[in-house]
C-alpha cells in the first residue's frame, strides 16, 4: 500500500513537470512580457522606463531559460510568489479563500452525491416503467440547460421570490450555512441530470450481471438486490466520476462562487481573470493539477475499500 502510494507520487513528478512546461509556454513564451506590462500599468502611455521597472519588479526581464528555471522551482516547491496586480502573496490569498470555498463546495458536493445516487437508485428500481422513461427524459432536459440559467433563475426564484436564503455574500461561522443554500441548490440542479443518468446507466449495467440473478434465485428482494448487491458494485465507476469533482471541491465552482459573491478561491480566480493576473492563474492551474492528482491517488486507494479484487501493487 505504502509502496503503491510512493510510486504514484513519483509518477506524478513527470506529469507536474509537463504541466509546468505547458504553463510556462503559455504564460511566458506566448505573451510578450512587454504586452503584459503595458496592460498592467495604470498610466495611459507608460514610458519605457516604467515598463522596465515593472518587468524587473515581477521578474519578467531575465532571459527565458532563467525564468523557466525560476518558474519550475516556484511551482514544484509551491512558492507561488506575489500577485501581478495587488502584489499580495498568493499563498496569503489562497489561505483566505480556502475556508469559504471548502464550506460551500463540500456541502454542495455531499448533497449532490446523496441526492443523485438516491434518485438514480429510484429510477433504476422502476426501470422499464414510465417513471424510468420520463425520469431519464427529465435528466436530458436538465442536462441541456446552461449553468448560467440555473444561477440566475435560482437566485431569482429561491432568493428573491421565495426568500429562502440571502441573495449573495458570505459570513464565516455558523452563518455560512445560510449563505451556502443558494449555491447548493444551483450546484444540485446543474449537475443533477448528467449524474443521475450516468449512475442509472452504471446501475442498470450491474442489474444485468449474473450475480443479480443468483441473488434473486436465493429469494433476495428487489430492494436488497438494488441497495446491497448492485450499489456496492456500482461504487467503483461512481467513485471514478467523483474524482473529477475533487479539484473543484477546494477551487469552488468558479461560476457559483463569483456569482454569489462568496470570497473563495473561485472568486479569486475569476477576479484574476478579469484583472489579467497571470501569476494567480498560474498558481491556481498548478494547485488544481496537484489536487487532481491527489484525488486520483485517493480514488485508487478507496477502490480497495469497495472492491476486494483490486490490489494496489
Amino acid at each position: 500500500m505504502l509502496r503503491y502510494v510512493v510510486r504514484r507520487v513519483l509518477y506524478a513528478i513527470p506529469i507536474l513537470f509537463g504541466v509546468s512546461l505547458i504553463t510556462f509556454v503559455l504564460f511566458y513564451a506566448t505573451v510578450s512580457p512587454e504586452q503584459m506590462a503595458r496592460s498592467k500599468l495604470s498610466a495611459r502611455n507608460p514610458t519605457p522606463e516604467q515598463i522596465q521597472d515593472w518587468l524587473k519588479q515581477h521578474g519578467y526581464d531575465k532571459p527565458l531559460h532563467v525564468q523557466f528555471r525560476k518558474h519550475m522551482a516556484e511551482l514544484l516547491l509551491l512558492r507561488f510568489g506575489n500577485s501581478d496586480t495587488t502584489g499580495e502573496p498568493i499563498w496569503q490569498m489562497i489561505r483566505n479563500g480556502v475556508g469559504p470555498s471548502a464550506v460551500v463546495a463540500s456541502l454542495s458536493f455531499f448533497a449532490l452525491l446523496i441526492v443523485t445516487i438516491s434518485l438514480a437508485l429510484a429510477v433504476a428500481y422502476y426501470r422499464g416503467t414510465y417513471v424510468d422513461l420520463w425520469g431519464t427524459f427529465l435528466c436530458v432536459i436538465l442536462m441541456s440547460i446552461t449553468v448560467l440559467v440555473y444561477l440566475i433563475a435560482g437566485q431569482y426564484l429561491f432568493g428573491k421570490v421565495l426568500k429562502y436564503a440571502p441573495l449573495a455574500g458570505y459570513r464565516p461561522g455558523l452563518d455560512a450555512a445560510r449563505f451556502a443554500v443558494l449555491p447548493l441548490i444551483v450546484a444540485l440542479f446543474s449537475r443533477l441530470g448528467a449524474n443521475v443518468r450516468f449512475y442509472r446507466t452504471v446501475m442498470l449495467e450491474e442489474m444485468h450481471q449474473d450475480y443479480v440473478r443468483t441473488a434473486r434465485a436465493k429469494g433476495v428482494s428487489e430492494r436488497g438486490v438494488l441497495f446491497q448487491h448492485v450499489l456496492k458494485n456500482a461504487a467503483t465507476p461512481i467513485l471514478t466520476s467523483v474524482v473529477l469533482a475533487i479539484p473543484f471541491l477546494l477551487m469552488g465552482s468558479l461560476l457559483t462562487e463569483s456569482f454569489f459573491a462568496i470570497p473563495g478561491l473561485g472568486t479569486m480566480l475569476v477576479d484574476a481573470i478579469t484583472n489579467q493576473d497571470f501569476a494567480v492563474v498560474r498558481a491556481m492551474v498548478f494547485l488544481g493539477t496537484i489536487l487532481y492528482i491527489i484525488g486520483a491517488i485517493l480514488t485508487d486507494i478507496s477502490y480497495t475499500l469497495v472492491d476486494p479484487r483490486v490490489r494496489l501493487e
Binding site: 422499464g128 444485468h208 450481471q209 449474473d210 450475480y211 440473478r213 443468483t214 441473488a215 434473486r216 434465485a217 436465493k218 429469494g219 433476495v220 428482494s221 428487489e222 436488497g224 446491497q228 448487491h229 456496492k232 458494485n233 461504487a235 469497495v306 472492491d307 476486494p308 479484487r309
Partner: protein, 349 residues
C-alpha cells in the same frame, strides 16, 4: 398416482425482439416426483435454461415474459403468486444453481455474507446459529477450512470451489427441489465428476428432487431417473433414462446419441447433426426438426406433430414415468404416408 412435486403444464415463455416474438419456451409440460431427478436435455438455444428460469419466474424482463401455462408446485400454481410470495419460494422451497460459477457470485461480498444472506432473507437472521449452519453447509459440500472461507471473496476461489459454494447456498434452506442449470459445463472434466457426485449424494441426503439441465448425455446417464429431450422450445421426447438409452425414439434424440464421441467410434468421423437450431422468432411451421431430420417426408413439413404416448419397450417398466414422443414416425396414420423405409441411423447407446 400421487400429486407430483412439480408439474409444469403447457408453459410458454416468449421474448419480444426487434425481429419479432421469440417463442423460447413453447408449450412445455413435464412433472417431477419428490426425490426424482429429471434431466432436461438439448442443444444450446433450445429453451432449456428459459424453462428453468420460468419456473422461478426469473425470466429477464421486460423483453421476456411468461405467456401462458401453469407451474404447479406442491399442487399450487406458482404463476398465480405475487412477486413477494414468489420471493419466499425462491431459495427456500426451490434452490437454483447456475452455469457460470465465475460470475454467479457477487464479487464484492464475502462468501460468508452471501451464504448467510441466503438464510437471512428467509427469516433466519444473521446470528451465530446461521453462522454455524453456514460452516456446516460448506463442510457438507466438501470445502476445506470453512471458517476461513467465510471471510474470503469469490475471486480467491477456483471455479469448482465456487460451484460448491453455489450449491451450499442453494441448499441453505433445505429446498424440496433443486434446479441445476448446466452446473458442470464451465468446469474441468475432473471437477465435473466431483460436482455431479456431490449433487447425487446431497439429493439422497436431503431427499430433494432435482431438475438437471444439460446438453451432455453422459451426465444424464450418470444421474437422472427420467429424461426430457427438448428441441426448439418443445419437448420432443420423454422417457426413463433406461428406456431412452436403450431405444431413443425421436430422430433428434437418435441424432444426439449418434453425435456423441464414444469408444467404439474411435478413428471414425464424428457424426454431426446437419444444420443449426432455427431462430426462435421463426420456428419451422410444422415439425420444428424437419429441416434437419434425416427421416423427413412431406407430412413433416405440412402437419405439426403432436406429443403422443408411447408404449415403453422392454419388460421392466419402472416408476410412473410414461414414455412420449413428438414425431410423425409414431403416429398410427401419418406414419403410413411415409414413402420409403427409414434410412436407419447408427445408434450407440
Amino acid at each position: 398416482m400421487t400429486e407430483p412435486l412439480l408439474r409444469v403444464e403447457d408453459l410458454r415463455t416468449y421474448f419480444d425482439t426487434p425481429a419479432g416474438t421469440a417463442r423460447a419456451v413453447d408449450g412445455v409440460s413435464f412433472s417431477i416426483a419428490p426425490g426424482e431427478t429429471l434431466a432436461l436435455v438439448g442443444e444450446s438455444g433450445c429453451g432449456k435454461s428459459m424453462t428453468a428460469l420460468s419456473i422461478l419466474q426469473l425470466v429477464p424482463e421486460p423483453a421476456g415474459y411468461i405467456a401462458g401455462g401453469h407451474v404447479y408446485f406442491q399442487g399450487v400454481d406458482l404463476l398465480d403468486y405475487t412477486w413477494e410470495e414468489m420471493r419466499r419460494v425462491r431459495g427456500a422451497d426451490i434452490g437454483m444453481i447456475f452455469q457460470e460459477p465465475m460470475t454467479s457470485l457477487n464479487p464484492v461480498f464475502t462468501i460468508g455474507w452471501q451464504l448467510m444472506e441466503a438464510m437471512a432473507v428467509h427469516g433466519k437472521g444473521r446470528g451465530p446459529d446461521t453462522r454455524r449452519r453456514a460452516v456446516e453447509l460448506l463442510t457438507r459440500v466438501g470445502l476445506p477450512e470453512p471458517e476461513r472461507l467465510l471471510r474470503q471473496y469469490p475471486h480467491e476461489l477456483s471455479g469448482g470451489m465456487r460451484q460448491r459454494v453455489m450449491i451450499a447456498m442453494a441448499l441453505a434452506n433445505n429446498p424440496k427441489l433443486l434446479i441445476a442449470d448446466e452446473p458442470t459445463t464451465a468446469l474441468d472434466v475432473t471437477v465435473q465428476k466431483q460436482i455431479l457426485e456431490l449433487i447425487r449424494e446431497l439429493q439422497q441426503d436431503f431427499g430433494m428432487a432435482v431438475l438437471l439441465i444439460t446438453h451432455d448425455l453422459g451426465i444424464v446417464a450418470e444421474v437422472s431417473d427420467t429424461v426430457a429431450v427438448m428441441y426448439a422450445g418443445q419437448i420432443v421426447e420423454y422417457a426413463t433414462t433406461r428406456d431412452l438409452f436403450r431405444a431413443p425414439a425421436h430422430p433428434y434424440t437418435r441424432a444426439l446419441f449418434a453425435s456423441r464421441p464414444s469408444r467404439d467410434q474411435r478413428g471414425r468421423d464424428l457424426i454431426t447433426i446437419e444444420g443449426i437450431v432455427p431462430q426462435a422468432t421463426a420456428w419451422p411451421p410444422a415439425c420444428r426438426f424437419a429441416p434437419r431430420c434425416p427421416e423427413r417426408w412431406p407430412a413433416c413439413e405440412n402437419v405439426a406433430p403432436v406429443y403422443q404416448k408411447l408404449a415403453s419397450p422392454g419388460e421392466d417398466q419402472t416408476g410412473p414415468a410414461e414414455r412420449g414422443v413428438r414425431c410423425h414416425l409414431y403416429h398410427p396414420e401419418l406414419a403410413r404416408t411415409r414413402p420409403e423405409q427409414p434410412a436407419t441411423l447408427e445408434v450407440h447407446p
